[in-house]
Every structure is written in structure tokens, then in C-alpha cells.
């Protein structure tokens, strides 16, 4: 079992010895039970750190902010940032390393194993408890969670409230870390692409109808893009103007920038936005599920990314985020790559 005190001790030492600038972890929020990201700078503040089955966020996303901030500083603090990662999050770190977006020496990785479970799906939890307020949630001894409400404690099997992505997770432990808390379990899902089965059984027309309905809801708040650690581009096709514009950018360059996607949240534009994003995540998405979780309109975005993950696996034998030294999926060509889809 992951020991929270051990986590705090580790974090405290890192800060005391000034080995890291700050540590990105989880702390209790003010809005109900959900934790919030914590940016811990002082050793005494490590007391705020928590670890429970609602520590859903992929904190790797904040490395993007850190990099942008550092780029602006004249004399940046060169020490690494401490980062708490779960298994899926650690694979996001690997992708960022693979793409040379970050350097290994700029992060100190505190890995936390999800051991035999994973994190809870907030929406499933709310449904399961039928309006009862959760006071506390912990990992159970076996494959389950201990949920405390005003009516006392119940043990809920993980199958009922575990996030779907955790049910399909192929590595419940960090694959890259400087310190690891918890054990490395040997659990493989029966079918890592099980959630796709229903969608794949639908006809082309049915799928079209489904996605039309779903993407019509999109209000283009871009929360899916904003929360994604892979959406770090300085220039994104959906923005009217972006980080890449500097005083040296010529008027021609700005004027010639094609508007690929209009700002109007209409079906055609929403489709272009979401499909461009999905394609850009092929071979990069590590299925942290954050895009789907943050969507205020519950668009099942994970389907899109999971489908492409499956394609990458089946066509190219590519697993995302296990090896930072391996060339990325879309930047390498191999003689034996299948070509039968080119017509």
C-alpha cells in the first residue's frame, strides 16, 4: 500500500535539501471532496499533500506552464520540479521526454503505484451514492474502495466506481520515476480496448448519428485541450492569434495564416476541431482521460483517442509512453509498416 506519510516525508526532504523548486501534488480542495492540484514550496506545507482514489488529475500538464514560465525568465532557477505521477501520468512524462519537450533533469518524479485499483470516476461515484455526501474515500485492502458517508462506511467493489480507463490500464505503476511508492502489480486487463466494443459494433450511419449528437453539444471552451499535457503547441489551429506571434512576425505571415476552424460552435467546426485534436494525439495520448472528465457537456472524447490508440497498437505494434528513447509513432517510417490503407 502507498503510505501517505512516506510521500510527505519524501517531499519534505526534497524541499528541505532544496533539491527541487517546488512539488506538484494533490491537496484537499474547498469545493466538496475533489482534491485540487497543489504547488508546494515550503517543507512545512507538505502536510497539505494527500493521496486518495480521487486524485484523478494528470499533473504532468503543469510542466507545460513551467516550461513557458521558465522560457520568459532571465535567470531561471535551474533546479528540477518535483512531480507526483500515477502510472498513466508517468507515461505522459515519457511522451514529453520522447518529443524533447522537457528534459529529464528538469523533473524529479515521485511515482505512485495505483497497485490493484486506480482512480474513481467522480460521476459514477455520485450515481452510486444517490445524493449521499461522501466524507472520505480510501483504497480498500482488496480490489475496492472504502467510502465513508454520513451513514457510515461501505466497501464498494472497484468494478462499480473505478474510472473506465483504469479498468483498461496496461500498467498500474509509474514506468519512469526517481522514487517509487507502492508495489508494481502484475495485473493485465483482459481487453484494454473493451470500451470500444460497443462503438465498433455500430454501423457507420449509427456512429455518424452518435457523433453528430455528441459534438453538437460542444461549446468550444477548450477545456479538453487545456487540460491535455500533449496539447502544448504554441500555435493551435483554433486560435485567432497565439503565442507564436512575436514582434518579428510579419504582417504577411499573420495575414496568410489559414483559418482552419471558425470560432462558431457549429457542428462542422466542432468536428474539425475535435478530429484535428484526435489525430494530433494519435500515438501520443496515454489515456489519462482528463479531456473527457473536464468536459462540462460530457462529450465522450475518450472514445476518439482510445480508437486511435488501438489503431496504433494493431497496425504498428506501438504502445504509448513506455520508452522515451524510441522514435515517436508519427515521426518514424519502417519498411515493414503496413501500407494497405493507402489507396
Amino acid at each position: 500500500m502507498v503510505n501517505l506519510e512516506e510521500l510527505k516525508e519524501n517531499a519534505k526532504e526534497l524541499l528541505k535539501q532544496e533539491k527541487v523548486k517546488y512539488i506538484i501534488g494533490y491537496k484537499r480542495g474547498t469545493n466538496g471532496l475533489m482534491p485540487v492540484p497543489a504547488f508546494i514550496k515550503k517543507p512545512e506545507d507538505v502536510e497539505n499533500l494527500i493521496w486518495d482514489p480521487l486524485c484523478i488529475y494528470n499533473l504532468t500538464r503543469f510542466l507545460v506552464d513551467e516550461k513557458r514560465k521558465k522560457a520568459k525568465q532571465k535567470n531561471p532557477d535551474e533546479r528540477p520540479v518535483g512531480l507526483i505521477v500515477k502510472g498513466c501520468d508517468s507515461r505522459a512524462v515519457n511522451v514529453l521526454l520522447q518529443e524533447k519537450f522537457i528534459n529529464r533533469e528538469d523533473i524529479y518524479i515521485i511515482g505512485i503505484s495505483c497497485e490493484n485499483t486506480g482512480v474513481v470516476d467522480e460521476k459514477k461515484l455520485v450515481k452510486k451514492l444517490k445524493g449521499k455526501k461522501v466524507k472520505k474515500i480510501e483504497f480498500g485492502k482488496k480490489n475496492g474502495f472504502i467510502v465513508s458517508t454520513e451513514d457510515g462506511q461501505v466497501e464498494v467493489p472497484s468494478s462499480e466506481i473505478l474510472a473506465e480507463r483504469c479498468q483498461e490500464c496496461i500498467a498500474h505503476f509509474p514506468v519512469v520515476y526517481d522514487v517509487l511508492l507502492g508495489e508494481k502489480p502484475k495485473r493485465k486487463p483482459d481487453n484494454p480496448f473493451k470500451s470500444l466494443e460497443k462503438m465498433e459494433s455500430l454501423s457507420r450511419e449509427e456512429r455518424w448519428t452518435f457523433w453528430k449528437e455528441q459534438l453538437d453539444k460542444c461549446i468550444r471552451c477548450y477545456a479538453c485541450r487545456s487540460t491535455c499535457p500533449m496539447c502544448y503547441c504554441d500555435e493551435c489551429v483554433v486560435d485567432t492569434i497565439n503565442f507564436a506571434v512575436t514582434a518579428d512576425t510579419t504582417a504577411e505571415e499573420k495575414a496568410q495564416k489559414i483559418k482552419w476552424v471558425e470560432k462558431s460552435p457549429v457542428l462542422s467546426e466542432n468536428f474539425v476541431y475535435h478530429f484535428i485534436r484526435a489525430i494530433h494525439l494519435a500515438g501520443r495520448c496515454i489515456d489519462c482521460g482528463e479531456c473527457e472528465r473536464v468536459c462540462p457537456l460530457d462529450i465522450p472524447l475518450r472514445f476518439l483517442n482510445k480508437k486511435l490508440e488501438k489503431e496504433a497498437k494493431e497496425l504498428f505494434g506501438y504502445d504509448v509512453g513506455f520508452d522515451p528513447d524510441r522514435p515517436s509513432l508519427v515521426s518514424c517510417f519502417k519498411e515493414e509498416d503496413p501500407e494497405d490503407f493507402i489507396r
Binding site: T30, I219, A223, V245, E262, K263, V294, P296, D298
Partner: protein, 346 residues
């Protein structure tokens, strides 16, 4: 005008209103949203807070302002496109969302009236529903001069009294709706009035969240413009647009030309919601950006609502609906931010 409507007569009332477009909260899987009601039977007033506020009906996320084209003899033509709206009724408006409408009226009125907004606004009747229990765990209407039974902005306020609704008409528009089905309504008796009073009083006690002392906030914010506080508070902000797009009072918009054909020229100028949390919102075409970091953008959102709007219109630009708190992907909590402001440096 104060009336009683039996719940069993509610459907009949709605049926009498068939000459209007009717909007009401509808459940879509796990959440509620306002939608056009085709069958009065779909109407259900047991909703928790809708994801989007009814502002989207009066101020839609996208609307065409004008169309332009060049004809065969290459003459440029520009055509004004105003919404041709049938009169609408929105049922089930929560008092916080209703209070947001008069705030929008101030923005879209004034020196330059906004014809697109007013075309819809003038033809919309707002029928509210008191919140006997808070529709969200983050409701804080009492802190911003509102209440779970506020009448502000509404034409009718309905309160659930169990097997009947207490229906209070507040405007002529509201009277009209009741008059269309006069026989369905009864006069409230002394007990109804007493029940109403008790339910309203009780509902206030159920609001759990609050801003400590809002009176000092605008002045405090003014002092804190340069404070490092904003850097700290915005550390986890993802710069997404949830907080503002879901807000019932946020009104910022963008205007862009959308081309259907470039030769001959044919296209539309459209207005869409825009968002102070997006970096390109204020970025000049030179690349200069007055609000280039998350801290300045979070500060803008809070200051606009709790300082600038007060200075300009003498109201808070927040009605305490709690949506920005409930839906923030990283738990940024406007109540907590303001409570920290209140205690900052003391």
C-alpha cells in the same frame, strides 16, 4: 398578482401557451440544460442547476450580424440580419439566473443599444422557480444580494408548495400568461401564504456556502491589483473557458467574418461568445498582450465581477449560481478566492 396552481393543472396551463416558444430544463443523460420543448409533457421542474444558464437563449453563443456578397456586376452588398423571434417563455429559471438578465440588460443597453440582444430580450418571458433546496452544492446567492426566491428579472415566480405551485406574477407579461388560463388558477388562502413564507425562509437556511463580507471586497480588490496573490491563485488555472462560458452574467463576445465563397465574395459576419481566459482575447496583432499570463486573466475575471462592474453599474456581476466552482477542472473556487481577498494582508 398572486395565484395558486394545482400541480395537476400545470400541464394544462402550458398547453394554453402554445402560441409561444417554450424553453425549459431538459435532462440529457447526467445533466440538465435548457432546450426547446416540443411536447408540454416533457416539461419537468425537478431540475438541479443546468450546465448552461438560460442566457444562451437571449444571447446565443453564435448569431449572424450581417451578410455580405458581391453580385455579378461586382457590386458589394451588405445586409443586416436581425433575429426574427417569436415570443418565448422560459420555464424553470432559477432566481440566480434570472438576476443575471437585468445585469446583461445594462451591458447591452446604455449609450449604444444592441439590437440583436433586445430583439430576443423584449420577446422573452421569464418564469422562475424558487429553490426550495439548493440546486447545486456551491450555491451562494445570499452572499451577492440574491436569494433562493429572488424575484429580480422574473416575470413570474413559482414556488413549489408540495401538490401545488404558488404563482406570483411580477409584470404585465406575467399577468398575460396567467390570464390565458384564468380558470386553472385559484386565489391563495392564508395557509398558502404562510407556507410560502416558511418555505422561502427555510430555503435560505439551506444555502451552505458564503462569501464572508462582500462589502469590503471591491475596495480590497482595488488595492490588490499588483499583488502576487494572483500568481498564487492562478497556478493551477488551465486557461480554459468553462468558468466564463457557463457564467450567467459573462457577456464578452467576438466578431468574425466567415466566408462561404471568396469569388464571388459571399459570407457572414458572426458574433460568438468570447472569453477573458483565452490568451488571444486581448492579444494585439503586433503580439503585444496586456494580459499575457494566467494571473492577469484570473484577476480580470474576479475584478470585472467584483470591482469594475460595481464601479460602472453599481451591481456585482455575479449572482452566486456556483457553476464556475462546480465545473472548474482544477477546483478554482471563487468563494474561496474572495474570502482570501477579504483576509489578505490582515
Amino acid at each position: 398578482m398572486k395565484k395558486i396552481l394545482r400541480k395537476k393543472s400545470f400541464l394544462q396551463w402550458v398547453k394554453r401557451l402554445e402560441s409561444y416558444k417554450i424553453y425549459a430544463p431538459m435532462k440529457d443523460d447526467d445533466f440538465w440544460n435548457f432546450a426547446l420543448i416540443n411536447n408540454p409533457k416533457d416539461l419537468n421542474l425537478n431540475h438541479s442547476n443546468t450546465v448552461l444558464s438560460p442566457k444562451k437563449i437571449i444571447f446565443p453563443q453564435r448569431e449572424v450580424i450581417l451578410e455580405f456578397s458581391t453580385s455579378n456586376d461586382s457590386e458589394l452588398e451588405v445586409k443586416e440580419i436581425l433575429p426574427e423571434e417569436k415570443a418565448s417563455i422560459i420555464f424553470g429559471v432559477r432566481p440566480c439566473d434570472a438576476r443575471a438578465i437585468p445585469l446583461m440588460d445594462k451591458v447591452f443597453g446604455g449609450d449604444f443599444t444592441d439590437p440583436y440582444y433586445w430583439k430576443r430580450r423584449d420577446k422573452t418571458i421569464l418564469v422562475g422557480l424558487s429553490c426550495n433546496t439548493p440546486p447545486s452544492s456551491n450555491c451562494f446567492c445570499l452572499s451577492v444580494e440574491g436569494s433562493p426566491h429572488s424575484k429580480e428579472g422574473l416575470d413570474i415566480l413559482m414556488t413549489d408548495l408540495g401538490d401545488k405551485y404558488y404563482v406570483e406574477s411580477l409584470t404585465k407579461k406575467g399577468d398575460q400568461l396567467i390570464n390565458l388560463a384564468k380558470n386553472l388558477f385559484e386565489e391563495p388562502n392564508a395557509k398558502d401564504n404562510k407556507d410560502l413564507e416558511n418555505i422561502h425562509k427555510d430555503s435560505e437556511k439551506k444555502i451552505k456556502r458564503q462569501i464572508q463580507d462582500i462589502k469590503n471586497i471591491p475596495a480590497k480588490l482595488k488595492e490588490m491589483f499588483e499583488s502576487p496573490f494572483w500568481d498564487e491563485e492562478s497556478l493551477s488555472c488551465l486557461r480554459c473557458g468553462i468558468c466564463t462560458y457557463l457564467c450567467p452574467t459573462c457577456h464578452c463576445f467576438d466578431i468574425n467574418d466567415e466566408i462561404i465563397s471568396s469569388s464571388p465574395l459571399k459570407g457572414k459576419r458572426v458574433r460568438t461568445w468570447d472569453n477573458c481566459q483565452f490568451p488571444d482575447f486581448t492579444m494585439h496583432s503586433s503580439g503585444h498582450n496586456p494580459r499575457s499570463d494566467r494571473a492577469s486573466r484570473l484577476r480580470q475575471r474576479i475584478l470585472h465581477k467584483f470591482q469594475y462592474f460595481i464601479e460602472q453599474y453599481q451591481n456585482y456581476q455575479c449572482t452566486g449560481c456556483g457553476r464556475c466552482i462546480s465545473k472548474c477542472p482544477v477546483g478554482i473556487d471563487i468563494i474561496e478566492v474572495l474570502n482570501k481577498v477579504e483576509n489578505y494582508g490582515t
